[in-house]
């Protein structure tokens, strides 16, 4: 029910605060989504969409940071298995 998926903002369609919409791409499929909760998002950014409404802007740097940390962990275990 709380399923939400990330998609890339392709272009803005409407900037009205209540009716804000943008075209979002999900794995090559484009769909108009409501943007009232993420009004400051810029084209090219990723947003997380739930029930047709973007509910957050993805912090891409944070995503990379955690993946880097996990790769270091994995490398460490590969070099010296527990």
């Amino acid at each position: 029910m709380c399923l939400a998926v990330p998609g890339k903002v392709i272009r803005w369609l409407d900037r009205d605060p209540l009716f804000a919409r943008a075209e979002i791409e999900f794995e090559g499929v484009r769909r108009a989504c409501h943007m009232a909760c993420v009004p400051d998002t810029e084209v090219g950014e990723f947003v997380i969409v739930h029930a047709g409404v973007a509910i957050s802007r993805v912090d891409a740097a944070e995503a990379q940071h955690i993946l880097e940390e996990l790769r270091h962990l994995s490398d460490a275990y590969e070099e010296s298995p527990p």
Binding site: M1, I48, H50
Partner: protein, 371 residues
């Protein structure tokens, strides 16, 4: 899919499993709050891979499972009116009330339609000015901004033919109720990542102070879940309890202010019923008085009480984590997804449906069990 596939990396997941197993000196009991997390844990075999160091109790986070049967009955009743098109999320249509589901009402001739978004129901109201469009609004704080947006748009558009049955529930009061139960076993929480995306996690500070349990704000992909579990285990082993954000790519401490503002404009917090739990203090959201003209319960009069069908589905025991689905005597025999006795087997996010679908699989996502 970018930002999804990276968080399903099997090698990194295996490293995290090893890391968690090294940190744990005993078996800890954690609750994942959200039904989406339950399904991902089972689908990916995380429960099995960590079975000897972590017991995962499945929380109440399947919104359609805790939607009161009376609200479903009301929706079914209003759907029978010839002028009404009753809309809701697909999951909600299959869950039975006391007298059948919305899909049952549809087979009896009611105009019941599944929508992907509440805003689709608003668009339908614009396209069908001679019909009354009712949206059955259910879900946690993740979903509340989307239905708030729908009613605020309807207000701006001055739509006379749009209304809602509002049955939104709030997560934190239910977690508090679970912790206060005398038979509570939960030692740490994986908080629901998309709820916290909207609400933030500052509100969990008081919760942690009161109950001294770690709370890890956690996402839905295998690596997200494993990082959340690792955080809880690390804190429990160190005998500390704090709120940790393990889903930083989506969640900020203060949450999404624009989404919160939408909720505040449309809804007020009240006491109200959860199916299987009874009345929960500050547990539900209802329309603000100034938007009451969009309240379907006020626009239409419910005409008759429906006959009550009863069975001995112990859904409340499953939803509160007191029993695992397999401990129910009906599980997999008289209760299956094809012949469900209760909401947790009907809903695609229900714990019983997750067990039925995944728990028999021995190799899930390549995560090996304990060696």
């Amino acid at each position: 899919m970018k930002l999804v596939d990276e968080f399903r990396d099997v090698e990194l997941a295996r490293s995290l499993v090893v890391d968690i197993r090294q940190r744990a000196t005993r078996r800890w009991v954690l609750m994942e709050v959200c039904g989406g997390q339950t399904h991902s844990l089972l689908r990916n075999g995380i429960d099995a891979a960590l079975a000897d160091v972590v017991e995962l109790i499945h929380g109440p986070g399947c919104p359609v499972c805790v939607t009161p049967a009376e609200d479903i009955d009301l929706a079914c009743q209003l759907a029978q009116r010839p002028e009404v098109i009753l809309t809701s999320f697909g999951d909600m249509l299959r869950v039975p009330g006391n007298a059948g589901s919305l899909l049952d009402a549809k087979t009896r001739g009611a105009d019941v339609r599944m929508v992907y978004s509440p805003l689709d129901a608003v668009a339908l109201a614009q396209r069908e000015p001679h019909r009354q469009i009712i949206f059955f609004a259910v879900g946690f704080e993740t979903t509340a901004p989307t239905t708030a947006l729908a009613v605020l748009q309807a207000d701006r558009l001055e739509l006379e033919n749009f209304s809602m049955i509002v049955s939104h529930v709030r997560v934190l009061p239910a977690m508090t109720l679970l912790m206060r139960a005398p038979d509570n076993r939960v030692q740490g929480f994986l908080a629901a990542g998309h709820v916290c995306t909207v609400t933030g996690f500052a509100a969990y500070d008081d919760f942690v102070r009161e109950f001294h349990v770690p709370v890890a704000v956690t996402g839905f992909e295998p690596l997200d879940l494993l990082v959340g579990i690792r955080e809880c285990v690390t804190q429990l082993e160190a005998r500390i309890a704090s709120v940790a954000n393990c889903y930083g790519r989506s969640v900020q401490r203060a949450g999404n202010a624009d989404a919160q503002q939408l909720i505040d404009r449309a809804y007020q917090i009240t006491d109200g019923p959860w199916r299987g739990f009874g009345n929960i203090a500050r547990g539900v959201l209802r329309l603000r008085p100034e938007l009451k003209r969009f309240d379907a319960t006020q626009r239409f009069e419910a005409t008759e009480s429906l006959p009550c069908l009863t069975n001995d589905c112990p859904a409340s025991e499953v939803l509160s984590g007191r029993i695992k689905p397999r401990e129910c005597r009906h599980f997999g025999t008289t209760c299956t997804p094809a012949t469900p006795l209760g909401a947790p087997m009907v809903s695609s996010e229900g714990a019983c449906a997750a067990y039925h679908r995944y728990a028999g699989q021995t190799e899930r996502h390549g995560l090996a069990g304990p060696s």
